[in-house]
């Protein structure tokens, strides 16, 4: 289970809506509460995909490293990655799967007509062959 607090959730939705109709991406920082992941901070990152970003995103490893450092400096961990699917369901696409990493939760936000519609979280495996869905909760502000 991954639970996103209201402040980071607001940041993620706002980033996704503002980046629409392009895909946005970012990092989620937080901590483990037993088996649960709790997201306390969201860091919007630049989509560095070289090409049309309407349906693609790419994270720079340097940005991810910086986010990881920022998390550690605050006593938090990098626990997830989020990105948006403009005018498309929040499913985990083949492209998502083939460029994923099994260590993080992948939260996908569906933005329809510029407005947040729904979201899902996924846990890909190490072989990038499949992703299990993960229970996702968020706190509305």
């Amino acid at each position: 289970m991954i639970e996103i607090e209201s402040k980071p959730w607001h940041t993620m939705v706002l980033h996704a809506e503002r980046t629409y109709p392009k895909e946005c991406c970012g990092a989620m920082l937080g901590y483990m509460r037993g088996e649960e992941k709790v997201v306390t901070d969201a860091v919007p990152l630049e989509n560095s995909y070289d090409g049309s970003q309407g349906a693609r995103y790419e994270l720079r490893p340097e940005d991810l490293l910086a986010a990881d450092k920022a998390a550690r400096a605050r006593g938090l961990d990098l626990i997830g990655i989020f990105h948006s699917h403009p005018d498309c369901d929040a499913y985990f696409s083949k492209t998502d799967l083939q460029n994923s990493c099994p260590w993080y939760s992948f939260v996908v936000l569906s933005i329809q007509n510029g407005k947040f519609d729904h979201a899902n979280s996924f846990l890909p495996d190490a072989d990038q062959s499949r992703a299990d869905s993960e229970e996702l909760k968020w706190q509305k502000s």
């Binding site: 995909y49 490893p61 696409s93 099994p102 993080y104 899902n120 992703a131």
Partner: protein
Amino acid sequence: MAKILIPTALRQFTEQKDSVEVDGGTVADVLHQLTAQYPNIKKNLFTDQGKLRSFINIYVNDEDIRYLDKDATKLEGNETLSIVPSIAGGAIAVAEPETAALSNEEIARYSRHLILPEVGMEGQLQLKRAKVALIGAGGLGAPLGLYLAAAGVGRIGVVDFDVVDASNLQRQVIHGTHDIGRKKLDSAGDRMRDINPNVRIDKFEVGLSSENALEILKDYDMVIDGTDNFPTRYLVNDACVLLKKPNVYGSIFRFEGQATVFAYEDGPCYRCLYPEPPPPGLVPSCAEGGVLGILPGIIGLIQATEAVKLILGVGDTLKGRLLLYDALGMRFRELKLRRDPDCPVCGDHPTVTKLIDYQEFCGLRSAPPPPVQAEGVIDPQEVKRKLDRGDDFLLVDVREPHEFQIARIPGSKLIPLGELPKRLNELNTDADIVAHCKSGARSQKAVDLLKQNGFKHVRNMTGGILAWSDKVDPSVPKY
């Protein structure tokens, strides 16, 4: 000693340490030391062939080793190493390969399917790869959406532009009371995703039309018709024939329903059965004629069963058979259907080779607009004032007795439209008469009839009892 920062998810292999210090002269040495110390971390970082996994980047301080000497990069002993994955993605796959496997979560979810030899792993993967277009998220669309999502149909395109109304809830079980006023697409989408988050739902918030039908439907393997009007039914049929996609058909009325599969292999299409639509107004819609709430559940699930059988390629489909269901008699009957070689769409020499104007085809465009009669009408507020003033007039309700039981205007006299001709003697031709019904159509007929019979002061209350509820007395229920 070099310090390796351990990502959160890998700390389960490092006794929960967030960093590990190891000795080594190169990056390769250090990683080797790490995996020697914590063997379980190895498969997360390296493939079975011992290569660093493709999504992993190793940083020495702030430098990616790809731009240094790769894993031969030398270390002095005071560096910090970070394990940073490459992450990318996107809504649309460059080339979406066939779904190769089910996740453990899916295997658990579909276990009762997987142990059926007729479905099994291969069949469940076929369901996952299947793309089904569902026209309408109403009476038939509700059970269809619920069960197709639950069954694991991978992609479901839903076409609907309606919002949930209180009068839908008696049968459209995909929507709940708290969904009233929401778009049916959103309400149905949430419910389907709740049942099965593995399903991809494509929402089309449009009315299916000759302009958009081929474009919308071309990406799907089959079309399920959950609509209740003739223009869309002919449109869906013709589009399916043109696109060579099966049309899983169902229709409902009051206590009876029908289902079959049209435009499948060498079977007939809807036009082979009904070459021409009925004259407008002859066959009432469910909104006009009513429908037993459970009926669309039965018919929709027959459609869902046929859709799943088509996907799996098992059993005998309803191709060439029209299944008739009568809820009151609780009987199923079957009619044989054959493809008509002279069918204008699917026959040997088709004359309809592209989509046409289906409103016109069904005679709806050419129907004359109801005559506007500024004279002879009265609005509900004025009727209320007449009642309050105690004017001497008669308010005649021309609806049916069962409608009168649902809602009535106090002081009105019930004479159903059908009985009016033989009950004219109950009325005075000189009296001030106002007629009303549910929405104003039947009472207009009553007004016309009364005028033809010499009644001098007859008016129709505009908008009927629905308008009365809106404008005068909200405590009168709408139905």
